[in-house]
Symmetry: C2
Subunit: 361 residues, 2 copies
DNA sequence: GTTAGCACTCGTAAACAACAAGTGCTAAAA
DNA sequence: TTTTAGCACTTGTTGTTTACGAGTGCTAAC
């Protein structure tokens, strides 16, 4: 074994194989490489180098008489190598700007538009988590009467998030009842972080609301569910049918594996959750790097978006491991950065909000 | 041609073919029929009858040497024939009851649970539209201050639906501003139907809010969007991966056609909209009866749910035309009826709400 | 270290035969 | 008139064989 080290030429050949395979989805042979990528050297030389690359685990051969395909290690090496050199086209640049322009009156709508645009630009399925407010602090509760037997609970957090639900009671409740409940809630729970308001914590005010009788338990449960739902962010999937555009996903079993995951919102939330505070703009997971074994033939590129300097959600594309990494990562990086800039801009408008957001950390 | 009429025996044979085909997904031959379904007569006789059924258009043969498969006309005849005789198992009965039990504090959550349960019971993908409130009357608007630069708009309708969105303004706004705006809105728009509040209608109050300057147009646009979103019901898809369990959908093109439709919420809303007030509990669309040509190889079974006697949303399953109609329709009928009973129950609790709902028509 | 040459492997496509399932038709039986 | 047995015919499926081609690894010469 003359070499188990990754020389410059071997790396060149590896990257050529990867790029050719990404393009064609077919195993790449030595001849194709030296014709298209390495005009100076012969196919025999390439073959020798390919044998070394195979031994080192960067490429694999499906069977003896076929060409080589990149292994996960190969892809990982390729992705790590291309730093921030990814450029996106002027047209894509315009698309990003157009999507993000306009006032951010409604965050959810903006994120849906971004999701759709990314799916179109990358030709991949996009999974987006809507903002999660679990570590926001409660500003106050408001109870709005709908009619004698129903009221709406509105929860306002310090960073300006509002959530409401309607509660139907079997008992008549008037404005005085409602304001009594809300004053109890506000006295006890305002300024608390959303994820601190658990069922036991809520039950501690049971006595103060005791005169509502048998209504109190379901009422508290309802309040708990409302607050709890602020921490469980919605998941939006865009362009699911694009999965079937890739030959490696056309096999029924593989397709079913992917769609099963897309069916399972909880699993998606888990997969997109960023445990570590990575310093790169987007994270890439190739094959078995994914936590879910059903994604062992897939790759994910995830970008996080922030509000008030804190990550509150993610946007992610899923495709085959044979992904156009340079293009997709460049697009995801650009979109993520632009989105974060827009969000920061629209939440920085005034120092007041900013202060609250920071105090909210 | 001795007969172009559908005799009792021919119908029997037709239904036998359909049931066998639903079970096996393979063309059905004369021999299989007379062995399993018509022990009294010979295969030659069945062949003669099958020739007649073919001529009448109830069945088709993919090629000369294959058996017969039902045509759309055949399926339609079959579905029309089985009236309400569909029975569901005790286990399914229990599942329905379990899903619908518990207090209906949150309609959306209940519908999601129903959707998931139907998808599991029928082994089909389920598409559910959340309630659409476009013909509800506005009860009132409330503006809740979030901070100096943001407020929440809460819209309450007479049937108790509440919707909110947060508006960020580049200008400081205090409680007095907010109450001025809300009083204008309430004076002019309360008691109007949601779908009557169009942009031109909203612009008619422009003068009354003129002193908010350049804020007024985006503010009115925001209000419009909020109200408008109450008429555009959300669509929830459950069990999408089940599509791939059916051999007829495993072909890439067909699968892609289905998933494209599932990607397109607007199209789904359109497909589920019930134009006529059908008297049957569920509606069935077979093949080309569907409005979307991509569903020409699919069948849909749709059930509507009502609040206050008015249809506000639908639940629908999609599968191949080779659908287990009797089972699926029975389950859908049962679930739809039970759901509507629960909804009526929970909205009838008191005469007050009932009166308002009826007055809201 | 590089390369030409060559034997070897192995998947793919084409051609062909055997087969099985199912049909339509005819003529006899009921 | 209806039913049925029998049979020739059609056609998709399966399996086998063959040829081919793409690609490899190895050796020996450059």
């Amino acid at each position: 074994m003359t070499g188990t080290e990754l020389t410059e030429r071997r790396r060149e050949i590896l990257f050529a194989i990867i790029e050719e395979y990404i393009r064609t989805a077919e195993p790449v042979g030595s001849k194709a490489i030296c014709e298209k990528y390495m005009p100076g050297i012969s196919s025999a030389t390439v073959r020798n180098e390919m044998a070394a690359l195979t031994e080192m685990g960067y490429i694999e051969q499906p069977h003896t008489s076929a060409g080589r395909i990149p292994s996960e290690l190969g892809y990982r090496c390729y992705v790590n190598a291309m730093s921030q050199d990814g450029d996106i086209s002027d047209m894509d640049e315009r698309k990003v700007r157009r999507t993000l322009s306009g006032q951010v009156t409604e965050l959810e709508k903006l994120l849906e538009a971004v999701s759709r645009q990314i799916s179109e630009m990358t030709r991949l399925v996009t999974v987006t988590t809507m903002p999660c407010y679990s570590n926001n602090r409660i500003k106050r509760f408001e109870l709005i009467s709908v009619d004698d037997y129903a009221f709406a609970l509105v929860v306002v957090t310090k960073s300006g998030i509002v959530k409401n639900k309607v509660f139907r009671t079997p008992m008549q409740m008037d404005e005085i009842d409602l304001s009594r409940i809300s004053s109890v809630l506000n006295r006890r729970f305002s300024n608390l972080s959303v994820d601190r308001i658990t069922l036991p914590v809520l039950l501690s005010v049971r006595d103060e609301l005791a005169d509502f009788g048998y209504i109190t338990p379901p009422l508290l449960k309802f309040i708990y569910e409302t607050v709890e739902s602020m921490g469980r962010s919605e998941v939006v999937i865009t362009g699911a049918s694009k999965v079937l555009d890739y030959p490696e996903f056309c096999d029924t079993d593989t397709a079913k594996a992917i769609f099963s995951i897309l069916d399972d919102k909880d699993e998606l939330r888990r997969l997109l959750r960023s445990d570590e505070n990575s310093d790169s703009i987007v994270r890439t997971f190739i094959g078995n790097e994914n936590k879910n074994p059903h994604l062992r033939n897939s790759a994910m590129v995830i970008g996080n978006y922030k509000i008030g300097g804190k990550t509150v959600g993610s946007i992610c594309v899923i495709g085959p491991t044979r992904l156009n990494y340079s293009g997709v990562i460049a697009k995801m990086e650009h979109f993520t950065l632009s989105l974060n800039a827009v969000l920061e801009e629209s939440f920085r408008n005034n120092a007041d909000i900013m202060r609250k957001l920071l105090g909210d950390r």
